[in-house]
């Protein structure tokens, strides 16, 4: 059984990248005008994502447990059942700050696919897919374990630091699967803080790192800057 207990350097790098992203917040987050232009072609209209209402989120992390349970099922007596909800395995992660704000973070379904663009594996002639590709039905970022070479370029390219290479196989993990179309986090959030919506990169917090979001919320809610 693959052990979960070997979290490498990655976590520290991840945190620094995720929480304390460099640069000020600009309009359209990290995307800029040019990317907006290119994003409006093709896939953008069919892209959906998990949207957070930070004013409703209480930081309970139920979302982490249901994401983990659904996306890491277990075979029990020949039947495939949901896992028991280990939040370490979750794709959505809640970051907590002081003064208290809670910022759930999950794959932003970037319309310009920086992760896929970074994948060095040539597109398959029949499917057009690299080792990292979008699922046909959900458009979720998915890895082909047979073709992935474990270079971790996608993880490096991920703007939010959501992608984490498995400590042993190096396969990219933690990309939101949208739970095959019925996101569990949305279903189970006790506070209805999550919703399943079309990607809209013009939304206020789109593509922002948790530390940046927290900074803004702390200022708006508590009137203090950290």
């Amino acid at each position: 059984m693959i052990s979960n207990r070997d979290l490498p350097q990655w976590s520290r790098r991840n945190f620094m990248k995720v929480a304390f992203g460099s640069g000020a917040v600009v309009l359209l987050g990290q995307f800029g005008v040019f990317q907006l232009a290119s994003a409006q072609q093709g896939e953008e209209n069919s892209l959906t994502m998990i949207l957070v209402d930070y004013s409703k989120c209480t930081g309970c992390r139920t979302c982490e447990t249901v994401c983990s349970a659904f996306n890491h099922p277990k075979e029990v007596n020949g039947e495939l059942l949901n896992g028991t909800g280990n939040p370490y395995l979750s794709n959505i992660k809640v970051y907590s700050f002081n003064p208290d704000v809670d910022v759930p973070t999950v794959c932003a379904m970037c319309p310009d696919n920086p992760c896929i663009k970074a994948c060095p594996v040539d597109p398959d002639p029949s499917t057009g897919r690299r080792a990292l590709y979008r699922d046909n039905k959900t458009m979720a970022i998915t890895v082909d374990p047979d073709r992935c070479i474990g270079c971790q370029s996608c993880a490096e390219a991920c703007r939010l630091g959501v992608i984490v290479p498995h400590p042993e196989t190096a396969l990219p993990e933690r990309m939101c699967t949208l739970c095959d179309g019925e996101p569990q986090c949305v279903k189970y959030c006790p506070f209805e803080a999550l919703s399943h919506v079309k990607v809209d990169i013009t939304k206020e917090f789109y593509g922002m790192k948790p530390g940046q979001i927290a900074e803004k919320l702390i200022k708006d809610w508590y009137g203090v800057s950290d």
């Binding site: 309970c60 059942l81 028991t84 370490y88 006790p190 203090v224």
Partner: protein, 601 residues
């Protein structure tokens, strides 16, 4: 032969700060089956550790400081967020004992995320003995456990430390808990704080932690125990989640947290007002839910909790405008408000903030200050005794000044840091009659004159006066179990008072146990706690309540005239000992009763 134990890691992380030795110790299946976890496993381990050391010094190297996860900790059952800190109390003592350092156990629950994370890291509990030569913190990252230098952090308040520590650790996904200056200074009712907002408040756990030169613990984990009956666990989990969708279950918590208690209990004449002299506060409307809501900005939750009882806010009234903190809660709003005749909400929140920042038990603290206000009003002490602080009823400034003194043990703060019993002993002049404690542990915000069972609750609690003990034997046993599975007591109504769903979840998690075992578990835990205390020298003579409740009827409010009679109290206590199977004269548990509970071993 090793039995596969489902629902547990089966491991206690054992750290000796004197030698630096770190060990992973297996927990016996007998202990897990009989004591479950949390508070129950805590008293069993305390008993084992101090088996040959009755009267052990609570501030000495032998006293184990234990952070105990519950059976549900780390599984996503609603509100399974609690960690129970268990140790020997630095604050209580019996009337008579052969031991100089005789005291009860202390157990204190805290919310947040710590206990679950300990379980993710691969442990069911953390036991710390010894004393570090210099201030240290404990670093736990799955298998990797280190004792690290904390000298640069010693003296830091909990709010700033909370931020500094995460920077030091480099990952906000670590869960941490720590003491503030009060624990460092060995104030007898110092608390342990986490997330700058939650506390293992009562019983001096922070004092014990400070005595070990331990500033903080950090834990991060990636695993999870395995369940014994996976299908049953998932089904019961779903059933629980559905129950918590009911507005009847979460409504009051989500709207106001425990602040609803402020107006409620004042109206019922059951609030601690003016050092417990009264039960109704005429100005409660200034500190209750309505004015508090003007400050509140958001609700926030502990691990997997759909209740979200905590309310974060920002004060707007000068001179404390702009203060960001959570509250008031019923206990904090009462003990630093009504009990001191303070009706200035912003002032109360300021007092709450600095108390949390220092790491002080707000209940004992408010009780101590109320006692001093009364002694001062009655001229049993003068301003000089109080370091020139004009400690009048209703004074926020004087209260803040006193809190600073207590946390730093300066001047009068040194004596006050030892609690109301020590103060009354020093002051004399019959002040013990309004020193509101049992066994040396201060009473909380629930008053007794108009609520006789509350008196029994305080008198019989195994950690000294405790409002969470339970006002009936069934309630006491049930609370002991709740504290052992790591579920928040606020959520127990949601699980259903018949205990059936809890039993199903326990079976799903462990793969074993039936409802008939459950009622015994709480009783067993309660009796072992009592055995521990009895051995220290606590007898029926210590199960008493302050004279105030018999001699001074309430003079205001709906329950004006309410008072307890000594006969009434005696009858309640006789009934208690009889039903518990404890000796009526001495309170010693009867041998047959103990045998029935698999005690002692």
């Amino acid at each position: 032969m090793t039995e596969r134990i489902y629902g547990y890691n089966g491991i206690i992380l054992d750290v000796d700060l004197s030698s630096g030795k770190i060990e992973k110790k297996a927990i016996s299946p007998f202990d897990l089956k009989n004591f479950v976890g949390g508070r129950g496993l805590g008293i069993k381990l305390l008993w084992d550790h101090l088996k040959d050391k009755p009267g052990a010094d609570p501030l000495g190297q032998d006293n184990p400081l234990m952070f105990m996860s519950g059976l549900f900790s780390g599984f996503p059952a609603p509100s399974s967020s609690r960690t129970c800190v268990v140790t020997k109390s630095p604050h209580t003592s019996p009337k008579e004992s052969p031991y100089a350092h005789a005291s009860t156990l202390s157990y204190s629950n805290m919310g947040g995320f710590f206990g679950p994370e300990l379980r993710f890291a691969g442990y069911d509990g953390l036991v710390i003995t010894g004393k570090a030569a210099d201030p240290v913190y404990l670093f736990i990252d799955d298998d990797k456990v280190e004792i690290r230098d904390a000298r640069k952090f010693w003296g830091t308040g909990t709010d700033q430390f909370d931020k500094d520590f995460i920077e030091e650790l480099g990952d906000p996904r670590f869960r941490t808990c720590y003491i503030g200056p009060a624990g460092e200074n060995l104030v007898e009712y110092a608390s342990i704080i986490n997330t700058a907002a939650r506390a293992a408040g009562r019983g001096g756990t922070g004092c014990v932690m400070g005595s070990k030169n331990l500033k903080a613990v950090a834990v991060r984990g990636t695993g999870q125990p395995r369940v014994g009956n996976h299908r049953l666990f998932l089904d019961s989990l779903e059933e629980a989640r559905q129950r918590f969708k009911n507005e009847q279950v979460y409504g009051i918590w989500r709207t106001s947290g425990t602040a609803f208690g402020l107006e409620l209990f004042s109206g019922l004449g059951m609030m601690a007002v003016k050092n417990f002299r009264e039960g109704t506060f005429s100005e409660v409307d200034k500190i209750g839910v309505q004015p508090s809501m003007k400050n509140w900005i958001r609700s926030f939750s502990c691990y997997c909790c759909p209740l979200a009882c905590k309310k974060s806010g920002k004060t707007t009234d000068s001179p404390f405008a702009g203060l960001v903190h959570d509250g008031p809660e019923y206990e904090t709003g009462t003990m630093l408000g009504a009990n001191l005749m303070i009706s200035d909400l912003a002032g109360i929140l300021k007092a709450v903030y600095i108390s949390d920042d220092y790491g002080l038990d707000i209940i004992s603290l408010g009780n101590v200050i109320g006692f001093l206000m009364e002694a001062y009003e009655k001229k049993l002490i003068d301003k000089k005794f109080l370091d020139n602080i004009d400690l009048n009823w209703g004074s926020v400034d004087a209260t803040l000044e006193m809190i600073h003194r207590i946390a730093t043990r300066q001047g009068i703060g040194d004596l006050a840091s030892r609690g109301v019993r020590a103060l009354a002993e020093e002051i004399g002049q019959d002040s013990h009659k309004f020193a509101m404690h049992v066994k040396g542990h201060e009473l909380a915000a629930h008053n007794c004159h108009a609520n006789p069972p509350r008196a029994m609750c305080y008198a019989t609690s195994n950690r000294g006066a405790c409002h969470l003990n339970g006002t009936s034997i069934e309630e006491q046993n049930s609370m002991a179990l709740t504290d052992s599975i790591g579920v928040c007591s606020f959520a127990m109504g949601g699980y259903g008072n018949d205990g059936g769903l809890i039993a199903k979840l326990m079976t799903g998690i462990t793969g074993a146990a039936s409802k008939s075992d459950l009622s015994q578990i709480g009783e067993r835990i309660y009796n072992l706690e009592k055995l521990f205390n009895y051995r220290e020298g606590f007898t029926r003579a210590d199960d008493v309540i302050p004279e105030r409740f018999f001699e001074e009827p309430l003079t205001v409010g709906a329950k004006k005239g309410a008072v307890l009679t000594r006969d009434q109290f005696k009858n309640m206590m006789d009934e208690f000992y009889t039903k518990r199977g404890w000796d009526l004269k001495t309170s010693e548990p009867e041998a047959a009763k103990l045998k029935n509970l698999n005690l002692p071993f």
